[in-house]
């Protein structure tokens, strides 16, 4: 049976199912239990169902909140750490860079961390420079962690269930604009293995690899391009950027000979920079022109709506970039 759930409901269902199965799964963070039920209400109802042994409210201390996850997973539990906003994980950066990411390799596999770090990222409603960032690329350069960035409710649930049971720390990016969006989610048990991209839309003329919410922007832009220019854009959602499914991307490029990467993070040293290099190294001969990166400007994410719009890619700016590229 499949029903429509919001992205937030899908995440909640993933946590609920895993918590029921295994008492070692718990959620820890600021206001996840009795207060807000998660800053974006993702954990609504879970405290009532599981109580304080699996839904744990904390003081405002991101560094130690992350430590709760590292320490508990070191001794065999499966914690889910929620940061109120992805930006706040910077306070706990040592825990990721020097601790969680390194435990397995440092201990020569004596210890493995089943640890999920949920990060509500991206821009929504002018939350401004310290509450809107897309920080995927920063974590890409840290060996030892996996990075998931689901877009649909189906993927949100399947990837979170996989992440909870994964034996390396997983940074789990949830774009704030996605929480209220609905999509079909089966009631039956499923997980999505990491490193498997999803073709969000098939096409033969141009490949777009889009990250997180930019998948939806790419789909909107693709519809406009189809209508205006009768070109079929293929949109690929990698779903996890570490590990990255280069094979699916390669197949698409061999078909379209053109590649664009769209992300909400800033352009300099962004996710697109890495994917672009991978494409150049592996599929250079198939390309009609250099890989194009569309990303946020190397700036803060401003609060004022026109400025915010000027910094972050949107469907109109993406359409224009595609048109410029194809010299239409």
């Amino acid at each position: 049976m499949t029903r429509d759930l919001t992205y937030a409901e899908a995440l909640r269902e993933a946590m609920r199912e895993e918590m029921k199965k295994d008492k070692g799964v718990f959620l820890v963070g600021e206001d996840v239990g009795q207060g807000y039920r998660g800053c974006f209400a993702v954990s609504t109802g879970l405290y009532e169902e599981f109580g304080p042994s699996q839904i744990i409210d904390t003081p405002i201390s991101e560094n130690t909140i992350l430590g709760c996850g590292i320490g508990a997973s070191l001794v065999g539990m499966k914690p889910i750490v929620e940061m109120m906003f992805a930006d706040f994980v910077a306070v706990a950066f040592d825990g990721i860079l020097n601790q969680a990411a390194k435990v397995r390799m440092m201990s020569a596999n004596q210890y493995k961390l089943n640890l999920v770090i949920r990060l509500p990222g991206g821009s929504k409603n002018g939350t401004g420079p310290q509450h809107s960032q897309s920080l995927e690329s920063i974590f890409m350069s840290i060996p030892g962690i996996k990075i998931a960035c689901p877009v649909t409710p189906y993927d949100a649930k399947g990837l979170l269930k996989e992440a909870i049971n994964h034996e390396d720390p997983v940074i789990f990016f949830e774009h704030k604009k996605l929480y209220s969006l609905k999509g079909p989610v089966p009631e039956e048990e499923y997980r999505i293995p990491f490193g498997n991209a999803r073709i969000a839309k098939e096409g033969k003329d141009l490949t777009i690899i889009a990250i997180s919410y930019m998948v939806n922007v790419a789909l909107e832009a693709a519809a406009i391009i189809k209508e205006k220019h009768n070109l079929d854009v293929e949109v690929i959602d990698p779903r996890t950027i570490v590990p990255f499914d280069l094979e699916t991307v390669g197949k698409s490029i061999k078909k379209t000979n053109k590649a664009i990467i769209i992300e909400e993070g800033i352009k300099r040293d962004g996710v697109g920079a890495e994917i672009s290099s991978l494409i150049m190294e592996n599929f250079f001969d198939y390309l009609d022109f250099p890989v194009k990166r569309i990303a946020s400007k190397n700036s803060i994410i401003p609060m004022s709506p026109l400025l915010e719009r000027a910094v972050i890619p949107n469907k109109e700016s993406v359409v224009k970039e595609i048109e410029d590229l194809l010299i239409i």
């Binding site: 320490g71 020097n98 440092m106």
Partner: protein
């Protein structure tokens, strides 16, 4: 507390073992048999042994960057520890990480800490897991005087206190954070900082192994029984530098000499002789320790360096 003679001899043996182990590393460092950096605990042996003997097998241990003694007192195989420090594949972590970052799962050592203060949040997570799973263990979180100035120390005290976590925080106050005296870095005594959070505290002469043992045991049993945190501050001194080849110009000669007079091992030997242990018995222990250290050194030297394996790329 009346200690059995056997226990006393074990204390002495372990302290001697740790000292000879550390001096073997100095010898290795001088002859370039050591590749990475090391932090030695000569002078602090009573802290390691007195605390280490107070724990149970099911307890979790978080040593500092100066953790050889803490691990040996816990029961870590010294051969594999020395091999680790010598970057050899027979080491605890296949020689990957050396002196400052090793783990020993067999002995519930959940990782030494190269980032000062990072042990606090991890200890909180371990303590939380102990409570969630209703275990009877405690977490022992070692740190130095300098590390008590990290913000994470205060977060740790707060979490341990509000959540009633079974964690024993053990401060090895050796007066210096690298080359800076504690008095220059904070106006408040370390145990006083913990008191502010309602944490039960204790202080001890860190060069008196029996005092360290008895007070640690008492406090850890309080923690185990009441599921509440505790902090013990041990006053001691590191004879050598911050790292192996540090010439330590920042410390007055008189201060060093004063502390060497308080040598925890010599002091304990004298005490045991007064109590009737024979000089021959002590020499016997010394000789046996020396033999074991030489075996560990041989094991480390004869082991191979590790080769790259795919699990080193994630």
């Amino acid at each position: 507390m009346k200690l059995e003679e056997n226990k006393k001899l074990q204390f002495l043996e372990k302290m001697m073992f740790i000292r000879q182990f550390e001096y073997k590393i100095v010898e290795f460092a001088r002859t370039s048999k050591i590749y990475g950096s090391v932090h030695l605990c000569v002078g602090e042996e009573a802290c390691a042994v007195g605390t280490g003997f107070a724990f149970k097998k099911e307890d979790y241990i978080l040593p500092t960057h100066r953790g050889h003694g803490q691990a040996i007192a816990r029961g870590t195989d010294p051969k594999r520890l020395l091999a680790e420090i010598s970057a050899k594949e027979t080491g605890l972590c296949n020689g990957r990480v050396g002196s400052m970052h090793f783990f020993d799962k067999e002995n519930n050592i959940v990782g030494c800490q190269g980032i000062l203060g990072a042990q606090f949040p991890i200890a909180i997570g371990v303590g939380l897991a102990i409570n969630l799973r209703k275990e009877n263990s405690i977490a022992a979180c070692y740190f130095g005087d300098g590390t008590s100035n990290q913000g994470l120390f205060y977060e740790g005290m707060n979490f341990a206190s509000i959540w009633d976590l079974p964690i024993l925080f053990i401060c090895l106050n050796n007066l210096y954070g690298m080359g800076t005296h504690y008095k220059k870095t904070c106006k408040v005594d370390i145990y006083e900082k913990a008191k502010l959070f309602g944490i039960k505290t204790e202080t001890a002469d860190g060069n008196d192994v029996e005092e360290v043992y008895e007070k640690t045991l008492k406090l850890s049993e309080y923690i185990r029984k009441n599921k509440k945190p505790g902090l013990i501050e041990l006053y001691t001194y590191r004879w050598l530098g911050h790292s192996a080849l540090d010439s330590r110009p920042y410390r007055p000669k008189e201060e060093v000499e004063e502390w060497i007079k308080k040598d925890p091992i010599k002091r304990y030997e004298e005490k045991l002789i007064k109590e009737g242990i024979s000089v021959e018995k002590i020499s016997e222990i010394k000789a046996s320790v020396e033999k074991q250290i030489n075996e560990a050194a041989k094991f480390a030297e004869e082991s191979a360096f590790p080769e790259f394996t795919n699990d080193l790329e994630i």
